[in-house]
């Protein structure tokens, strides 16, 4: 160890690395096998939601770089506008089916409450992201939605700092703040799933509890 160098076991990078390796070893982070009960169509909707999110972000980046005149007037601009719209339709469609599936299988069981909460918060923020997207269209639809929404938001006291008639503010929320929040929360949600594993079905969990009880007896 040279002069001025912190001991490796006490530096924050070493502690962070040790903690990350302990929480998510490579075989947990990128598993190549899953339990048998995961072989069901209901388990694919989380991955489909992420696929739709990738299409959403990619098409949104193109739209943001080219601007409103391009996405309203040119053929290719309308195509990307359509890709962005249908990506969000599929994103919410698959996310809701994923949510229903996880609700009915009690996905918060076995110490997975944080995974459930991260998913639920991502869902709520996604609604805000979609809402600000409708306000950022730069057309009569956006004007109509903003003038309808402003009274409701003013009545609950948040209109002063969340002004739906302020295009710049809504656009910033839509292309920076909310997408970053959704992507980070999604990443955290996936890491929690990797760490804690997929929730077993109720029947399997009961069988495991019985087996543990019999071993103790």
């Amino acid at each position: 160890m040279s002069i001025g160098e912190a001991p490796r076991d006490r530096s924050w990078t070493a502690r962070l690395r040790t903690r990350a390796e302990h929480a998510l070893p490579p075989e947990k982070l990128l598993p190549d096998r899953q339990p048998a009960y995961v072989a069901s169509w209901i388990y694919v909707f989380g991955a489909l939601t992420i696929a739709a999110l990738v299409c959403l972000v990619a098409s949104g980046m193109v739209l943001g770089l080219k601007g409103p005149a391009w996405w309203h007037v040119t053929g290719i601009g309308r195509f990307f506008n359509g890709v962005h719209l249908w990506s969000v339709e599929i994103f919410f469609f698959t996310m809701v089916v994923h949510l229903w599936g996880k609700f009915w299988m009690g996905a918060w069981r076995g110490g997975r409450s944080l995974t459930w909460v991260a998913g639920a918060v991502t869902f709520l923020i996604s609604i805000a992201a979609a809402f600000t997207g409708y306000l950022s269209q730069q057309n009569f639809d956006a004007q109509w939605i903003s003038t309808q929404a402003k009274d409701g938001l003013n009545s609950v006291g948040i209109g002063a700092f969340f002004n739906v008639t302020n295009f710049g503010q809504m656009y910033t929320f839509h292309v920076i703040l909310l997408p970053v929040a959704v992507v980070l929360l999604t990443a955290w949600h996936v890491l929690l799933v990797r760490r804690n594993g997929v929730v077993p079905p109720y029947v399997r969990a009961l069988a495991d509890e019985r087996a543990v009880g019999e071993e103790r007896a």
Partner: protein, 64 residues
Amino acid sequence: MALPGIGALARMPLGAVFDLSGRPRYVHWHFFQMSVTNLLVIVLMVVVFCAAILLPFPHRRAER
């Protein structure tokens, strides 16, 4: 018998599936009011949810 034209098809309740830019249609029953388009999407989500539970998954490979 003459086949119905596109206009007649669009006026049918099922026309909302094909013509999403037309005049919106609503289902109104007591307090419940929803556009036909939104209702169709919700019905489709329920159908897909049931299918995902009931349909067998291909290449089932058990680990344990």
